[in-house]
Amino acid sequence: MNPIRIIAAAAAVALVPVALTACSSGSGGGGGGGGGGSTLTIEDYYQASYDPIYQTCAKQVGAKVKINHVAGAGLIAKVLQQASSRTLPDVLMLDNPDVQQIAASGALAPLNDYGLNADGLVPAVKAANSYKGDLYGLEPVTNSIALYYNKKLLSDAGVTPPKTWDELRAAAKKLTSGKTYGFAMSNINTYEGTWQFLPFFWSNGGDEKDIATPQATQALQFVLDLQNDGAMSKSSINWAQADVDNQFIAGKAAMMINGPWQLPSLNAAKGLEFDSVPIPTRTGDPTVAPLGGEAFTVPQTRDKDRMKLAAKFVGCLSSAKMQTTIAGVTGNVPTNESAADEWAKSHPQVASFVTTVKTARARTGELGPDWPKAATKIYTAVQLALTGKAAPSAALQQAQSQSQ
């Protein structure tokens, strides 16, 4: 159907012997395989702590790697620039909601062509990384958000971790005293704010295709109620997730919504005892939270041999064994369901995230590359409601009709 696809497939078939040689050279310890001399360039926004992981997989597929860590905020701009100058790296890490947008531009190679699939991974990973039926990225590890709570403050107030909205509201009210708010979350006017509101929005039946629904209104009203009760600071509309974490560590919030990437800072805080539970829902049903984490993709670089090797490399990163290694380095959750269950047993601090990720939803699952527009509308509605500029239902309607 697609000529390029056919050529790619033909090339893939032609390269099988080469790949096999590369494979055997990897396990045999020899350096003379077909792909053995290749150097893969990798681009991500991680830290140097990721380098040993790359080296392990490089050894396994028989390649050398050149690792390029860029600043998180600058990655997409750099990718676009590289796309136009045809200098994309061999292996590209992307934040999962960006995968479909970049795939839509034609810059990425479908991973199915290289025999990779998302079988055995949590369902949202496939939804997030597929575009028009093809898989473009694989996430070795993922994350989501949950409700952290300060054990000491809760036991002092005689509060148990909440499971429903009513319980959460009552707990937040009870835990508010003096300079301590019962609850904190980020409602900032960026995608971070949208990401934090989504568990309330989705779990209650909200949908990004039409945000002005009674279910969405109910979710927004709930967050507004927390603020009106005085249980959530009015500053939440200006807090990024890192700010929320700081409030929690400083003891100014008894509960907060945040992700597992904050665990290092939380564990480093002296005298802070904390735990987490999945974010409460109105009915107590399982939470539908957004799927986080970054995917590894193989850009179209015209060098078929290297692309094939890059795909093997991505497959290696996503193998169950490597997932556990990566989770150990990053504190995230393996996407392989059985690996994740094992992980939860040995790492109780991430257990609530493992639970949440299973029922998580991909932000781009429904709208694909159009997700950013919906995300902008959602945080705009949250801001309109929390600043008192409009009541929740009017805020959602206003944000929905806003053309940009």
Binding site: A83, S84, A107, S233, P369, T380, Q383, T387
Partner: protein, 316 residues
């Protein structure tokens, strides 16, 4: 500069008489003149001309992430402009841009002039204090906006803690849609004071002291001296400061992004931040280009004012 060079070249052939040797020399000197202006022309064309032309073209195209890989940017005519002007946010950003610019410029100028007049008197440590005044200018913008964000925090910010000593309840500086713009303007005023003070101070230094002596003999001291001596003498400096200030303030992005990111609920969104947001957050480069073209036109009007003022000053 370009104008005078063109006049020179045009004058060349007219003056040239029939002698071949002379005309060759004329030609050589004409070429030399062009060579002298070539660096400036190339610089302007590459670093100003190309981006502006590209920006104008982009605003008529559906320029998205896809374009970077495929190179295809379908021509959409005025659709980007229609969407920009038709958006509910556009009016808000326009009003905010006007309020932000006027508020910043007026206060920066008044405070800057006051400080410049104050520092004209020599007193112990005046040089040191004047140096200290430059500090806001020397700090990286993103760092000072982060510090201001902490200072202005509603619950634990230093400013509210201080006001609390006098029994003032916590002011929602960056949180209330009504106050956020005021807070952002305030920070921008703080940032702009060094520029205004420095330029106005140097303007004041150039006023000859004899004028004041003569004026005081005529009975003009204090406010009258300012009204009849100082103000007329620094008027051209004043107009330069104000026009440059307007152009700088119109395009402020970093301080707003650092403090509020345009929020809460778009209450501090200006043309510049909205253009940034469309281009680099939503990746709608066509719409971003359309908004920034509106900004360019506004800035250009003030640039024309600046040029005519400085030319008038040069003529005087």
């Amino acid at each position: 500069m370009t104008v005078s060079a063109r006049a020179g070249v045009a004058a060349g052939p007219l003056v040239a008489s029939g002698r071949p040797g002379r005309s060759r020399a004329r030609l050589a000197s004409g070429v030399t003149r062009w060579l002298f202006i070539a660096p400036a022309v190339v610089f302007v064309a590459v670093f100003f001309g190309y981006p502006v032309v590209k920006n104008v073209l982009m605003s008529f195209q559906d320029y998205t992430t896809r374009t970077f890989f495929t190179g295809e940017a379908p021509w959409v005519g005025l659709a980007n402009y229609a969407q920009t002007f038709g958006s509910a946010v556009f009016t808000t950003t326009l009003v905010n841009t006007a309020l932000f610019t006027i508020g910043s410029i007026v206060m920066q100028f008044v405070i800057g002039l006051g400080l410049a007049l104050f520092f004209r008197r020599n007193f112990p440590l005046s040089g040191f204090l004047r140096g200290l005044l430059l500090l806001p200018w020397l700090l990286p913008l993103i760092a000072s906006s982060a510090v201001w964000k902490w200072l202005l925090d509603q619950d634990s910010g230093a400013i509210n803690q201080f006001l609390g000593l006098f029994g003032v309840p916590a002011v929602p500086w960056l949180v209330s849609p009504g106050l956020a713009l005021v807070a952002v303007i305030g920070v921008n005023i703080w940032l702009g004071i060094p520029f205004n003070t420095t330029i106005l101070y140097s303007g004041l230094q150039s006023v000859p002291p004899e004028l004041y002596e003569a004026a005081s003999l005529d009975g003009a001291t204090g406010v009258k001296a300012f009204r009849y001596v100082t103000w007329p003498s620094i008027r051209s400096v004043v107009s330069v400061v104000i026009v440059l200030g307007i152009v700088y303030t119109l395009k402020v992005v970093d301080i707003i992004l650092g403090l509020t990111g345009g929020g809460p609920a778009n209450s501090t969104q200006t043309l510049a931040t909205n253009a940034y947001h469309q281009s680099f957050v939503n990746f709608e480069f066509g719409i971003g280009a359309a908004i920034s073209n509106v900004l360019i036109v506004v800035s250009f009007l003030f640039a024309v004012v600046y040029i005519s003022i400085s030319r008038k000053a040069a003529d005087e």
